[in-house]
């Protein structure tokens, strides 16, 4: 599907009438991970590939990488830290996000 084009910072004139979304399923284009203050980083050496982080992540932001290891999809990770808390071998550390 072609992405509905709207300036991410629309002026009031550019906004569709009543700020309506004129196309279905546009949430697929909406990255929700932009309000994170800490980012989970997986230590692949420590990770036992138990998959618990994948189970616990409330946003489904843990991805299974091709080689079977686990990684974080930063487009959707909100930085809650649950994965780091639940990882039985403490393979996930939360690193502060710094503005570039």
């Amino acid at each position: 599907m072609e992405k509905f084009k709207l300036n991410p910072k629309p002026t009031w004139k550019e906004l569709p009438i009543a700020s309506m979304i004129p196309q279905p399923a546009t949430s697929r284009f909406y990255k929700t991970g932009d309000w994170r203050s800490f980012r989970p980083v997986v230590d692949k050496e420590k990770c036992t590939r138990c998959g618990l982080c994948w189970v616990y992540c409330p946003d489904g932001a843990i991805r299974i990488v091709e080689d079977g290891s686990y990684d974080v999809d930063l487009d959707y990770c909100k930085g809650c830290g649950i994965c780091a808390e639940e990882c039985p071998v403490k393979a996930i550390s939360m690193v502060e996000e710094v503005e570039e």
Binding site: P10, L15, I17, A18, M20, I21, P24
Partner: protein
């Protein structure tokens, strides 16, 4: 052919909605509005109007059903009053914010407590910031004409806003008056069926209405609504002109009465303007230079037009049938005062609260208001600029 008939004011609005060929009516009965929707349900039951009549369990549901129906492109009508409008409050904002051209009759009624079914304007005024176009009518003819015009105004692509037609509970709603009623052919010419917008809700092209609005977009959305309201003034003027050209009855934001050389004018909205006119006549007989400005449009507020109209006046005596407890006076009064604050030349503006909970405003009371307003000009100011006209002290 247009025909002169006698009709109860409430039924004049039902007749107009029928002639407008509404698709959906969703309403809940409440005094003094009930006759309007009663008549409409009769039209539907008798097969005179091909519409979906939705009986709902509350006014909140009534407006919700109207919102859904209007979003798919239906022509929608409802009516309410007093507590019913208060219960709709939340959905009123949704209707305007989603830019749905619903037309609603409001049989203005006082808000409880005490349990009072009679007329004043406190119901609509409690929801005045809901983003609807708000028109006030004085009599059956205005109510009939305004309803037909309201659909045309609301559904105009440049507007796309709901319209509330206000008229006084009992004093206007329950009165039988002569009107010139238009016939179906005439109405068809003036008001064609609603043009369904391309973005209307439809299973084949889904759209999302009223999504979450983060702080990042809410300001833009509200600014857009402000623009729509402001611009609607042009369309209202156009539609009223077109109506006048077709049927001979011309309307304006104001109806001035004996204003030409007036120094003092009463300014108010709704049915009591009839009584105010008699007061003006009596004062004129005594040689007083008094006139009346009947205000028909409260939202969008006709600002520049009012400044122009009042440029020769020394005193404006504003009579409000609603007020904000602990505030700065009645809604029309505070609006007009704000309007004139930055004007170099301005009249003395005096506010009166009257007609609450159905209390009649008599001719002599209007005369007292004018007298009191004159004194304010001479320096005998009223505390805070406004007073209760009829309260027993």
């Amino acid at each position: 052919m247009a025909k002169r008939i006698a009709i109860e004011c409430s039924h004049a609005i039902s007749l107009a909605a029928k002639l407008a060929n509404v698709d959906v009516v969703a309403a809940y009965p409440i005094t003094p509005q009930t006759h309007i929707v009663e008549k409409l349900s009769e039209y539907v039951a008798d097969g005179e109007l091909d519409a979906e009549y939705i009986n709902v369990e509350s006014e909140h549901s009534a407006m919700s059903a109207c919102i859904g129906a209007s979003a798919v492109g239906a022509r929608v009508f409802t009516a309410t009053a007093g507590q019913g409008l208060a219960l709709m409050h939340e959905m009123l904002f949704i209707a305007a914010g989603n830019r749905l051209p619903i037309v609603m009759a409001v049989a203005n009624r006082s808000l409880s407590p005490n349990l009072n079914i009679w007329g004043d304007q406190s119901d609509m005024m409690a929801s005045k910031d809901c983003g609807w176009i708000q028109i006030y009518a004085e009599n059956a003819q205005e109510v009939f004409d305004f309803t037909l015009q309201a659909f045309k105004i609301a559904e105009d692509e440049r507007v796309m806003l709901p319209v509330a037609i206000n008229f006084d509970g009992f004093y206007v709603t329950h009165v039988i008056e002569p009107i010139i009623a238009l016939d179906q052919e005439e109405v068809k010419k003036f008001l064609p069926p609603r043009k369904i917008p391309s973005y209307a809700l439809h299973p084949d092209h889904p759209t999302t209405w009223g999504p979450i609005g983060l702080p990042d977009v809410q300001t833009e959305l509200k600014r857009q609504l402000e623009e729509a309201l402001r611009n609607s003034k042009t369309v209202i003027k156009e539609v009223w002109k077109e109506f006048g050209d077709m049927f001979g009855r011309y309307y304006d934001f104001f109806e001035p009465y004996r204003l030409e050389d007036a120094e003092i004018a009463i300014l108010m909205m709704g049915g009591h303007c009839g009584t105010a006119r008699i007061a003006v006549d009596r004062l004129r007989e005594k040689g007083e230079k008094v006139g009346l400005i009947k205000l028909r449009l409260f939202r969008p507020f006709p600002d520049e037009e009012l400044i122009k109209l009042t440029k020769n006046l020394k005193v404006l005596a504003i009579v409000d049938k609603a007020f904000s407890p602990g505030g700065l006076g009645g809604p029309v009064f505070t609006e007009v005062k704000a309007l004139f604050y930055n004007q170099k030349i301005k009249p003395e503006i005096v506010g009166f609260i009257a007609g609450l909970g159905g209390r009649d405003i008599r001719v002599d009371e209007f005369m007292v208001a004018v007298e009191r307003a004159k004194k304010a000009l001479m320096g005998e100011k009223i505390d805070k600029g406004f007073m209760f006209l009829q309260v027993r002290e």
